[in-house]
């Protein structure tokens, strides 16, 4: 029963001493023990540390301290460094890596008293859209265990959907929070680039990576984002802007809100999927919003742009894995070059090697201008399209994904088809914009996501719009069968 409560409700019960954090933590640990073997959503369980942290949270409550996350359990994506706990990034390369410090996101949530239960499975180095590239095997979607949960934060999404924790952290480089949130029927928030610190987050593509949250409602996500967001001098691209009170504006009326319907997001979209978005728009109009059609003419270029920029940055970032300072080292290297090439060849999986090679190619002499520089220019065109759209509308709306969850194994052998899963999510990353996915109905009994995209630093408005929608609907309250 405890796993059905919102973070707000759990906080009230903890505050009223009706339950303790130790009790709550034991409840979720027992659920993980029972349900995770099917899902493979968690790859490291930190039960002892969790119970110790829960005891500490209870002591802080007993001493009179309050706080919305004090004593609330969570699961961290295994991309965040956690002091003294293995941080594998879903890779053989880091299978033996014990982080020597906490990521800022981890440290902030810890300081606010949130209790880490364990680390979530993910696509290797966050490169994937199905959680099938993990060294630890695929994550199963709790709505149908023959289907993928999406990726790369697939473990965080599946764990949140299966109520293995009230919330989980994730990262979103090209859709890795919003896409799995959509495919598992939970609420996922990708903040503005620079809003949440990247310090201690294993880097994939540094101009695109952003940390965010999975929760079962926008109201819960607001509480978590409040803790995560804010300036961090240890991240050189962290933005020094004040963080508004996200919960304070959740109930703000939507009268007069202008919502832009993204025309390009409906090109070729299956009628049943489009109908769900139009149903959502009806609800927004009932809530007082007006809708206008907007166009992002360069959006069709976003996937090829991303698949130049992201691999280029990845090839540079992942050059740090050399078999010398940390991570996997091959057996009996015959010389230094052999040590480098075999440690990397054996330590990285197929998709990661493919991205490193794509990036190496587009940055190599003779190809830099045609690919990397060209992609950076098209990135500006796409960003300008968004800027123009925000002159017509306060928020943009569309589907999060073209289809519901697909079968495990269906797309893994065809990288370009897999990449097209991110066609609706990549634009926000290229432009650094915040985005949110929330459940809006079902296709073939599988959840679909509604995506909201706002201008830079509009997280409060996105959460407000999502919260009002969730007050008028109950998609977000539905649990997959067997996980109620």
């Amino acid at each position: 029963m405890l796993h059905t409560f919102s973070i707000g409700e759990l906080g009230r019960r903890l505050s009223a001493k009706e339950i303790s954090s130790v009790e709550l933590t034991r409840h979720f640990l027992a659920r993980i023990e029972r349900l995770n073997p099917t899902l493979n959503a968690l790859i490291t369980l930190t039960a002892d540390q969790a119970l110790a942290a829960a005891g500490k949270a209870d002591a802080r409550r007993a001493a009179g301290e309050q706080g919305p996350l004090l004593g609330i359990p969570l699961i961290h994506k295994d991309i965040f460094c956690t002091d003294g706990v293995r941080t594998s990034c879903g890779s053989r390369m880091l299978d033996n890596f014990v982080a020597p410090y906490d990521a800022t996101v981890v440290a902030r949530l810890k300081a606010d008293g949130a209790v880490m239960l364990g680390k979530a499975n993910m696509d290797e180095f966050a490169m994937g859209s199905s959680n099938e590239t993990s060294y630890y095997g695929p994550v199963k979607n709790p709505w149908d265990t023959t289907k993928v949960p999406g990726g790369s934060s697939g473990g965080s999404a599946a764990a949140t959907a299966a109520r293995l924790a009230p919330f989980a952290t994730g990262t979103d480089t090209g859709g890795s929070i919003r896409q799995p949130a959509a495919l598992t029927g939970v609420t996922g928030v990708k903040p503005t680039y620079g809003r949440v610190s990247r310090f201690g987050l294993v880097a994939f593509a540094s101009s695109l990576d952003q940390a965010g949250v999975f929760a079962r409602s926008a109201a819960d996500a607001a509480l978590v984002l409040q803790s995560m967001a804010g300036f961090d001098p240890r991240d050189s691209t962290s933005i020094d802007e004040p963080v508004p009170d996200y919960s304070a504006t959740l109930d703000a009326p939507l009268a007069g809100l202008k919502i832009g319907l993204l025309r390009e997001f409906f090109d070729g979209l299956e009628a049943r999927n489009a109908a769900l978005i139009h149903d959502a728009l009806k609800i927004y109009r009932q809530l007082g919003a007006t809708t206008v059609e907007v166009s992002l003419p360069n959006l069709p270029m976003s996937v090829p742009t991303y698949y130049v920029v992201a691999p280029a940055e990845c090839s540079s970032n992942l050059s740090r894995f050399d078999g010398v300072r940390y991570g996997y080292r091959c057996e009996n290297p015959k010389d230094l070059l052999d040590l480098y090439t075999r440690s990397r060849g054996e330590g990285f999986g197929a998709e990661v090697k493919r991205r490193i090679m794509t990036g190496t190619y587009v940055l190599s002499a003779g190809y830099f201008d045609a690919y990397y520089l060209k992609a950076q220019k098209v990135r500006r065109l796409i960003t300008n399209d968004f800027r123009a759209a925000f002159k017509q509308a306060d928020l943009l709306i569309g589907p999060t994904t073209p289809t519901p969850a697909f079968a495990i194994g269906a797309k893994i052998d065809d990288p370009v088809t897999m990449y097209l899963n991110e066609i609706y999510t990549i634009g926000a990353n290229l432009a650094g914009l915040p985005g949110l996915s929330l459940p809006c109905g079902y296709v073939d009994s599988l959840p679909m996501g509604l995506q909201l995209i706002g201008p830079h630093f509009s997280e409060a408005k996105l959460l407000n719009a999502a919260h009002r929608f969730q007050e008028a609907t109950d998609w977000h309250r539905q649990a997959p069968r067997g996980y109620e």
């Binding site: 033996n96 691209t237 090829p304 050059s319 991570g327 290297p333 500006r380 990288p415």
Partner: protein
Amino acid sequence: MSLTRQDVEKIARLARLSITDAEMPVYVTSLSSIVNFVDELARAQTDHVEPMAHPLDGQHQRLRADVVSESDHHEKYQANAPAVQAGLYVVPRVIE
């Protein structure tokens, strides 16, 4: 544009990745399809467009005071290293 086996071998060498003979044909095919896919960018009209490296305009690299901000953690950090001797990382002999 299609990549040849020689192209992929060169890229792998630049990227310091050993690719086995069994893996090679898969990479030749998949990297060719990715390059074909991103070749679509050539169609975009980008004359007089400034390349964009940072998603937020007007951000500058911050500077901080030039003072020591970290303490010595080398033992903790080197606990993750495959081979360490006397506080140094051990690699195969480079100079005979």
